[in-house]
Structures are given as structure tokens and as C-alpha cells.
């Protein structure tokens, strides 16, 4: 136990402001985000992640925004296990034919305002998998999308910026 405590204190708080290049931008958007989440979601934005057919690259980066460096909880963002509690669906794609029904059901189970964010090049337009017998293409082929975050996969910073965009853009 003493070692655990030692390690915790030795590590300290590693959460850092996002990379220097966009730091200023993030300070602005981060403040806006916190404000918007406070205004629209009483300080707590709940996200349900849905993999509708991705290669799992995007999932790695969505994990990363939960790591102690990016620590998205500080903005009031929380990932939930059930769409029934979710304000936002963060959907990676392309939508495979075999996931189409599950994605629709998840969408239907989500209460309003059900913001939908399409993640990654494949989520935006099908990416390298395109449209075929097995892939329906981008997320908007199946459910309405509010915001697109391109990238293969999008970096954690791009993800946070996209989430901010989705929250900020709606009244």
C-alpha cells in the first residue's frame, strides 16, 4: 500500500494543457466548453461511444482522451455504459451492414437532444472501406450527424475540439 501511495504522490497531477501549438485555441474553446456544458447539461455531458464498424484505431484515441494527460472529465465529460443516459453518441465507422440495426437501436434508445458526432475518416464518409456489400459508408447514411471529426484516427486534441464544437453549436 505504501508503494501505491508513494507512486501516486510521486507522479503528482500529470494532466497538462493540450499541446502548445493549439494551447491558446484550447484555452478559448475549453472555457467555452465548460461554460456550454454548464449551461446546456448542468455541468455534465454524458457520452455513449458506439463502434459501428471501425478498425479500433479511433477507439484507442477515445480511450486516450480519458487518460490522465487529457483527462476529459475536467471539462465535465463522462462516458456512460448505456445510451439511455447519454446526451451524445460518439460514433466510429464505417457503418458495417452487420451493425446497422444495432446503431439504429442505440440511436432510438438515446433521449433528446441526442447529439451525434461522427468520428474518423471512416465515420465521416466510409474512408478506405467506402461503400460496398458490407460497408454502408459514413455514419450519416444511417443516422443524422451533428458534427464530423475527420482524421485517421483523429488525435485526442481533435476529438476534444470536435466534442466542443458539437456542444457549442447547438442552442
Amino acid at each position: 500500500m505504501i508503494r501505491i501511495l508513494h507512486q501516486i504522490f510521486r507522479t503528482g497531477i500529470v494532466t497538462e494543457p493540450l499541446p502548445a501549438v493549439i494551447e491558446e485555441e484550447i484555452i478559448v474553446i475549453g472555457a467555452k466548453l465548460e461554460e456550454a456544458i454548464k449551461r446546456r447539461f448542468r455541468g455534465s455531458l454524458t457520452i455513449r461511444e458506439v463502434d459501428a464498424g471501425s478498425c479500433n484505431g479511433c477507439e484507442l484515441e477515445i480511450h486516450a482522451i480519458n487518460n490522465p494527460i487529457y483527462n476529459c472529465e475536467r471539462f465535465g465529460i463522462h462516458f456512460t455504459a448505456s445510451p439511455r443516459f447519454a446526451d451524445m453518441l460518439l460514433v466510429t465507422g464505417p457503418v458495417s451492414r452487420n451493425m446497422e440495426i444495432a446503431l439504429r437501436r442505440t440511436y432510438n434508445a438515446t433521449p433528446p437532444p441526442k447529439l451525434v458526432v461522427a468520428v474518423g475518416d471512416c465515420g465521416c464518409n466510409g474512408g478506405i472501406f467506402g461503400e460496398s456489400y458490407a460497408s454502408l459508408g459514413g455514419i450519416d447514411k444511417v443516422i443524422p450527424v451533428d458534427v464530423y471529426i475527420p482524421g485517421c484516427p483523429p488525435t485526442p486534441t481533435a476529438l476534444l475540439k470536435g466534442i466542443l464544437r458539437a456542444v457549442d453549436r447547438n442552442p
Binding site: N98, F129, S135
Partner: protein, 521 residues
């Protein structure tokens, strides 16, 4: 040795080909009725089944062909048999080799060839709402059009009796993970049976390869399973280089190994953290994620991508490292190993964690062998299998690789295999940085000649990845077979779960951490 075993049983009935590259991978064609005899001979020679797949060879004027690839020690041997279009059946190998069970269901579902004698011909990857006659891997199938949905129902395995109840889970899971369906039959807390149903993320990858050029295909290979992007790109590129009979610069080999080992460390760190988190030890998750993030950032800075995606191409690599980069990695490794060892100590001394990870999700060595598992899963269950060791692709043939093998086959063994591999990968990276030769990064690749095939096996962080590519009559991609380690290891999970309690499933599942996308393709 495998070749002799085939010769002893089949004699002149086995016709060897010179059109399979590299030629160290022996390939022979046997008559359809002798396909099982070949499998028997392989079984007798202790070989494991590495993969089984089918190819539509009608563009060459023939019919279909079924291939089975066996492995023992450093040898790979491919047995091929021809299947005529008007009688699309072949003898099933399932009774000889258990993993053929899923390979053959897949061949049946996607290529429409019937494995005669197979005990369970429910569709696999193909869902019940696909049109019956849709066989996407056939050349006559138009892959560009969406398919209609038809009515149909999947027949689940049932368990009956007093107190037996069923828990369906998925396809959308609670965490940030890929989709798949698990169905448990349980009595109280105890699981009596687990049935997996995968295929939700089937994106038609194997078919899509056929519409790509050899050069562009590597981008698709890099997205078969995002967390294994480096290993898949290397395996695909090596198969293409084999079929094009092209040698790549020495420096490119070493850089590939550098990328591969960095991918291994990053994923193992994430896995160890996530496994501990599933035993409610969140501390370890955040510590490990911190270290992983450090590696990813260095990747971005030095190689231009956090997961080093698209940096390996047929013919070489597109990212280099200079002296400053070397220094940066060495500095990072020193910090990493110091921090990592401290965390390993904490893991090792935590008795409440030990309570959860020991004796949970045991895959006994006999079963691991029977199921022909590979990679971490195999090495945690006593199988000393690692292509870096037995089938060393360059540069692994230039230095020693130590591979941890444990026999307890439980969650702890799979954690510990990862711990030891991280240590070894750190050592390998240091060696690479010290000894990497100078030279160019890539060469041009010639177009493969028609009707040849290429094979490559690469040890990714999950285990052995196999690519088999075949050139069509115009030298284009006629077939690209992908065998991710997940294709076989998912069977291992199914067998490791019964007799565990339901709440331990996430923990056991995470310790396997197989790819859904790599399996479903």
C-alpha cells in the same frame, strides 16, 4: 520434416509448386479425396493448423481451391486442393483440427464451398439476414452493391435444466470497445457455457483488397485492426515483397522492427492497465495509460503518427530516424523502464489483485495446443510459439530474442507474459538503435507474375499474423487472405470461460484482448 511427412503418406499424389514465394514455404496440391490424409499426416508430425482458406481461381480457367497452412517449428507447409465449380464441396478438417471449425464455417459462408462432414454449418460472419446465395469472395459477386435483408434466425446453442439462465451481451458493449455478441448460460454465478457470435464489424476487407493495387493495399492492411497497424502493414508488405521477389534495404528491416517493438510496448502497457482496471484497480490503468501516452507522443514527434500508421510500405518504409531521434528514444526508454519496474512491483505485491488474476480464466496447455492458439495466449499456456524466434524475419535473424513462456494459462500468466515482453522489447529497441545499419529506406516493387502467390508471417503484439496473397492472370491481386491472431484465439476465450463466475468475464476477456475487427475483416 513436414514435407517428408506428406511424402510418406501421399507419395506422388502431392504435386509441389515452384510458384509459391518465399520458396521456404512449401506448397503442394493434393487430390480432393486425400485432403484429410494430408491433415492426418500433419497431425502425426505434431504440426499445428495455422490457417485454412479458399480462393476463387476461375479467372485462371479453373474452379475453386481450398488451402490449409500447417506450422511446426520453423516450417510452414501449405496443402492445396482443387474444388470444381459444379461440385463445390471439400472434406472437412474439423475432426482433425479444432480451429478448422471456424475457418470452414467462414469458407462456407463467404465462398460457398461446403465442408463435407463439418458438424456445424451455421453461418459465420455472414448474418442470417444476408441473402442465401450471397458469397462475397466469389468473383461472380458484385461487391459494390448493397445487399437486401432477408428473414432468418440464428440458432444458438442451448443449455437446459433447473436454474439455467441466459445472459445475452452485446453487440454494443458497456465500455469503449468493439462490438460482438456473447451469450452465457449460467447457473447462479457460474458460467456453464459461453457462445461467441462475431462478424458485426465485417467490412468486406478481403474482397476490397481485390480492387486495390499492390501498393495501395498496404493502407487497407494497416486498417485491418487499428491497434496492430504496424504489424499488419509489415506482414502485407512482406507477402507482396515475397511474391514480387524483391529484397528491401537492410535499414528498412531494422526500422520496421523498431516500429513493431514500439507498437508491442504501447499495446501491452495499455492491456496491463486495462486488465487491472477490470479487477477494480484503477490506479494501474491511469499509471499505464500515462506511460503509453508518452510513447505515442514520441511516435508522433519522430515518425509523424501516434500509431506509426502508413509508415511501412511494400518495398520499405517512409519514416527514418536520426541521431537526435535515437537519443530521444533512449531517454524515453530509460524513464519508461524505471517507472514500469516500479509499477510491476506494485502489481506483484498487491494480494487483493492477485486474488482476482490467479486461477481466473484458465486455458490449459493441452487445450491451447488443440485450438492452435498463437501469440500471448499461447505463450501464457505453455506453447513456445513466436515467429520472431521460430521463423525469424529480418532483422530478428540477426540477434537473440527471449520469449517468456508460462504454463498456468490464467489471467496472471497473460499479464506476466506482457510484462516480460515489454522488458524484452525495451532491450530489443536499445539493440536496434545501437546497431541499425545505414542505407536507403525503400526500393521499387516489380509487378508480380500471374498465378504466383506470396506468404508472410509476422509476430504482432497479439501474436502471429499471416498474409497470403495471390496474383491473378494480369498480375493483379486475385486474393489476399488475412489471418489475424484473433481468428484462432477467440476460440481460446470461449474455452477458458466456463467454470468462471459471470463477474470475472470482463477480466478474462480483457486478458485475451482479441481484435473484433481483425477477426471479422
Amino acid at each position: 520434416m513436414l514435407k517428408e511427412a506428406i511424402d510418406n503418406v501421399l507419395g506422388t499424389a502431392a504435386a509441389y509448386t515452384e510458384r509459391q514465394f518465399p520458396q521456404s514455404v512449401v506448397s503442394c496440391t493434393v487430390p480432393r479425396e486425400r485432403f484429410v490424409d494430408a491433415a492426418k499426416a500433419m497431425k502425426k508430425a505434431y504440426a499445428l493448423l495455422a490457417a485454412e482458406w479458399a480462393s476463387d481461381e476461375t479467372p485462371f480457367g479453373g474452379g475453386f481451391a481450398v488451402y490449409a497452412c500447417y506450422r511446426w517449428g520453423s516450417e510452414y507447409l501449405i496443402v492445396r486442393t482443387e474444388v470444381p465449380v459444379d461440385d463445390p464441396t471439400f472434406p472437412s478438417l474439423t475432426k482433425k483440427y479444432v480451429p478448422a471449425y471456424r475457418f470452414e464455417r467462414q469458407i462456407h459462408s463467404l465462398m460457398g464451398l461446403v465442408p463435407a462432414g463439418h458438424p456445424d454449418l451455421r453461418p459465420w460472419i455472414k448474418f442470417e439476414d444476408w441473402p442465401q446465395e450471397a458469397y462475397p469472395l466469389r468473383k461472380t459477386f458484385d461487391a459494390s452493391k448493397p445487399m437486401l435483408r432477408v428473414n432468418g434466425e440464428y440458432q444458438w446453442a442451448r443449455a437446459e435444466g433447473e436454474g439455467v439462465y441466459e445472459i445475452p451481451v452485446g453487440p454494443v458493449h458497456a465500455g469503449i470497445i468493439e462490438p460482438g455478441h456473447f451469450r452465457f448460460q449460467a447457473v447462479g454465478e457460474m458460467i456453464v457455457n459461453l457462445e461467441e457470435r462475431l462478424g458485426y464489424v465485417h467490412k468486406g476487407i478481403e474482397k476490397r483488397f481485390e480492387s486495390f493495387s499492390w501498393q495501395d493495399g498496404v493502407r487497407l492492411a494497416g486498417r485491418v485492426s487499428g491497434d496492430t497497424t504496424v504489424a499488419h502493414s509489415i506482414a502485407y508488405s512482406m507477402a507482396v515483397e515475397a511474391i514480387a521477389q524483391c529484397d528491401i534495404p537492410e535499414r528498412a528491416h531494422w526500422l520496421r522492427a523498431l516500429f513493431l517493438e514500439r507498437e508491442r510496448i504501447a499495446n501491452h502497457l495499455g492491456d496491463i492497465g486495462a486488465i487491472c482496471n477490470d479487477a477494480a484497480f484503477a490506479f494501474m490503468l491511469y499509471q499505464m495509460m500515462r506511460l503509453k501516452e508518452m510513447l505515442l507522443r514520441t511516435n508522433l514527434k519522430l515518425f509523424g503518427h501516434r500509431f506509426i500508421m502508413d509508415r511501412v510500405i511494400p518495398g520499405g518504409v517512409t519514416a527514418d530516424i536520426d541521431e537526435n531521434g535515437k537519443k530521444e528514444i533512449l531517454k524515453e526508454l530509460n524513464l519508461l523502464s524505471k517507472e514500469f519496474e516500479r509499477l510491476v512491483n506494485i502489481y506483484d505485491e498487491n494480494s487483493s489483485l492477485e486474488d482476482r488474476v490467479r486461477d481466473a480464466g484458465i486455458l490449459i496447455p493441452e487445450r491451447a495446443r488443440e485450438l492452435c492458439t498463437v501469440g500471448i495466449v499461447a505463450r501464457a499456456s505453455g506453447l513456445n510459439l513466436d515467429c520472431r524466434l521460430q521463423n525469424p524475419f529480418p532483422p530478428y535473424d540477426r540477434f537473440e530474442v527471449n520469449v517468456p513462456v508460462l504454463i498456468s494459462g490464467d489471467v496472471h500468466a497473460r499479464v506476466w507474459a506482457r510484462v516480460e515482453e515489454i522488458r524484452e522489447s525495451i532491450r530489443i529497441i536499445r539493440f536496434i538503435l545501437e546497431n541499425i545499419p545505414d542505407g536507403s529506406l525503400s526500393v521499387n516493387i516489380a509487378k508480380p507474375s500471374p498465378d504466383t502467390s506470396g506468404f508472410a508471417a509476422v509476430e504482432g503484439w497479439r501474436g502471429e499474423i499471416i498474409y497470403w496473397v495471390q496474383a491473378g492472370p494480369r498480375g493483379e491481386i486475385n486474393r489476399c487472405m488475412v489471418r489475424d491472431p484473433s481468428s484462432v484465439n477467440w476460440l481460446g476465450l470461449e474455452q477458458a470461460i466456463p467454470n468462471n463466475i459471470v463477474p470475472d468475464f470482463p477480466l478474462c476477456n480483457k486478458s485475451f484482448n482479441q481484435s473484433y475487427s481483425g477477426h471479422d475483416l
